[in-house]
């Protein structure tokens, strides 16, 4: 099939690679069929019990357990067929130069199968009812083929943005991330296809909040302090995580995360650094184990007598800016405390201060002291004195 003129070369190559991987992986099934065997897929098990925290690499990884899915098996047949249906739809999209999303993959596969059951009754059964089901099948195909869905040219909504002294190639274009005016470059949904051309920066600052990103961008923080400035606009999506990981791994730039001082902020850091527990198979590609938590930390608020660290807020500012923690915050903090990567001395202290004081603080409380306080006092001091958590 001729490639339409508006498809770019990078995508054509990505398609070829994905198509090849699909054919390789699924030809085992063909061999089974030719031998007259019961067609069976063997997939890595995506369960919590098969999720392992690799302390050395600081990554959540899938363990060695495998899952069998056979066609001729009462309990496995539906899942087997769902997997084959989804694989076919994704494969067809690849071949037809399509760019599906997980939502329309759900729609594409959704239909009703009418069949006669073992007692001779006509039965109607849906391929899937909820997107949850089709998403789980996509994940199975990811672990089965060893490819992320982005490599299959499956797109999704994206919130991440970036500016900084750096040039990249995306699609057919060369983009200068230092020439975005007051706006930013919205990170593409397939960040593995980005080519880093050159970079003149010393670190990556990832800001949880888009509004604070806008402020730091507008005041020229990244220019003055040689930073690549990224926002995840809340909980990071996969593309932002993969982009940040590549900045760290390939360009050797240290990565610092700036969030609100609360368990939700810590969790955002945790997702960047270690990955999400329920989707551990992504971690190997999306997580940035070297990422540091720059702040806002509890010792930024209250100081740390042990280290002789003074707080960044006065007594009066604390009174004005601090927010009372909710029960859900406390509960989440207790939960995070049990994660292995939060069991260092520093993190225990951080979480304990929170549990004792039962207070949280937004980054905006610091810009409430003046944007220049955040940009020219707080952030540079934290970076220079190495005052961050690992």
């Amino acid at each position: 099939m001729a490639t339409p003129p508006y498809i770019d070369k990078v995508d054509v190559e990505a398609r070829k690679k994905a198509i090849k991987a699909f054919r390789e992986k699924f030809k085992e099934l063909l061999a089974q069929l030719q031998r007259g065997d019961n067609p069976t897929l063997l997939l890595p098990k995506r369960t919590l019990s098969n999720t392992i925290y690799d302390e050395k690499r600081k990554l959540l990884l899938l363990g060695p357990e495998k899952l069998k899915r056979s066609f001729f098996h009462l309990h496995e047949a539906k899942k087997f067929m769902q997997t084959m249906l989804m694989a076919r739809i994704i494969y067809e999209a690849l071949v037809n130069n399509e760019y599906p999303t997980i939502r329309d993959l759900y729609y594409r596969g959704k239909h009703t199968i009418i069949f006669r059951d073992d007692r001779g009754r006509m039965v109607e059964e849906n391929t899937w009812d909820e997107q949850k089901e089709s998403d789980a099948v996509i994940r199975d195909i990811e672990v089965f083929t060893g490819m992320l869905r982005e490599e299959m040219l499956i797109l999704s909504k994206e919130k991440g943005k970036v500016v900084g002294n750096m040039r990249i190639r995306s699609g057919n274009d060369v983009i200068d991330l230092s020439k975005m005016g007051h706006g930013a470059w919205a990170i593409e949904p397939t960040p593995d296809l980005i080519e880093f051309l050159d970079v003149d920066a010393e670190f990556v600052l990832v800001v949880e909040k888009d509004a604070v990103f806008q402020q730091l961008h507008r005041i020229g923080f990244w220019r003055k302090y040689k930073a690549i400035l990224v926002t995840s606009a809340g909980q990071p999506d996969r593309a932002t995580r993969r982009f940040v990981r590549r900045l760290n791994e390939e360009l050797k730039l240290p990565v610092y995360i700036l969030t609100d001082a609360d368990p939700y902020g810590w969790y955002i850091y945790s997702v960047f650094k270690i990955g999400s527990i329920t989707l551990s198979y992504e971690s190997e590609r999306l997580a940035t184990p070297n990422a540091k938590f720059l702040g806002v930390s509890m010792t930024d608020i209250y100081g740390d007598a042990e280290r002789g660290k003074k707080p960044y807020l006065s007594e009066d500012e604390r009174k004005r800016f601090i927010i009372k923690a909710k029960d859900a915050d406390i509960k989440r903090a207790e939960e995070l405390k049990s994660y292995k990567w939060f069991q260092t001395r520093e993190w225990r202290k951080e979480i304990d201060i929170f549990l004792q004081k039962k207070t949280k603080l937004e980054i905006e409380a610091l810009t409430g002291k003046g944007l220049k306080f955040l940009a020219d006092v707080y952030l540079p001091t934290k970076l220079e004195t190495g005052d961050f958590l690992d």
Copy 2:
């Protein structure tokens, strides 16, 4: 005060203008004080009863009613002082080359005043407790000064993105919106400061969903059909609305809105076109009265016998793709039906079909039929045949 090197010229000019407007407006108060009068602000009333739908201009506007706010008045003193406090903070931020957000304006002004009441008791009173309160004060300052908060260099989080055959100047940079690779330009928080340099496009397509924007972008829709492609990523923020309005007003580009076929989608269209009812004072600057609702419409789903229009979905596809409306959808539809701009013959039909069938449909159901169906059949047909609602 010397301008730091990283502040751009456009911002310096914007600051000067805002500072001047503030001084002009507030010097009336100074005159009152010098005369020994009770300091009093006269503000346009931001109430529903003072909100008027201008049928000719198709805009929600503030009516002529004014509100008095005096310092020496038991019920007005607090509001008067809140307004003066916020005006001072914004003015100081302007003078100090700051870029506050509405969230940190809340923090900046938040403190406790201790005073002795008329019975001699010590009383503590907060300037404000919730951001709702400080936001309302910012709105009062907007209507009082006749400036949008963006013109006061107040920033906010932004979700809007754009690509297309167009060059703009933002800050000190010239940005080619056709050279964003697989990413996009994230619209800046102060879109009035954008300069349109040149454009080679025939219309603007605004897509509610970011994921569908990614798909249409990636398949080259805007190149092939000469569109400026915008996404609001859900409910549009102010910057996206202002940006779209400027594309329509200054570049004379027709604007088409593409949302899900449900009352939530209609509301997004309504906000783009008319403005938000509770914030009618913004409409004059942010709304695009010429915007059309391209789809997905109920007649796209079910056809329209009266016009001889065939549906875009087969019986079987309807069965697979349609979602049952929830009670909240029905309620919202009934509400929208009462809006004057939804009382055309076409919109009544649209809403009536919805209320009768009680079903909705996502845009992704169309990409479920293939992205090329959306990009090369549905959208071009709708545009060519003028099949949209006004």
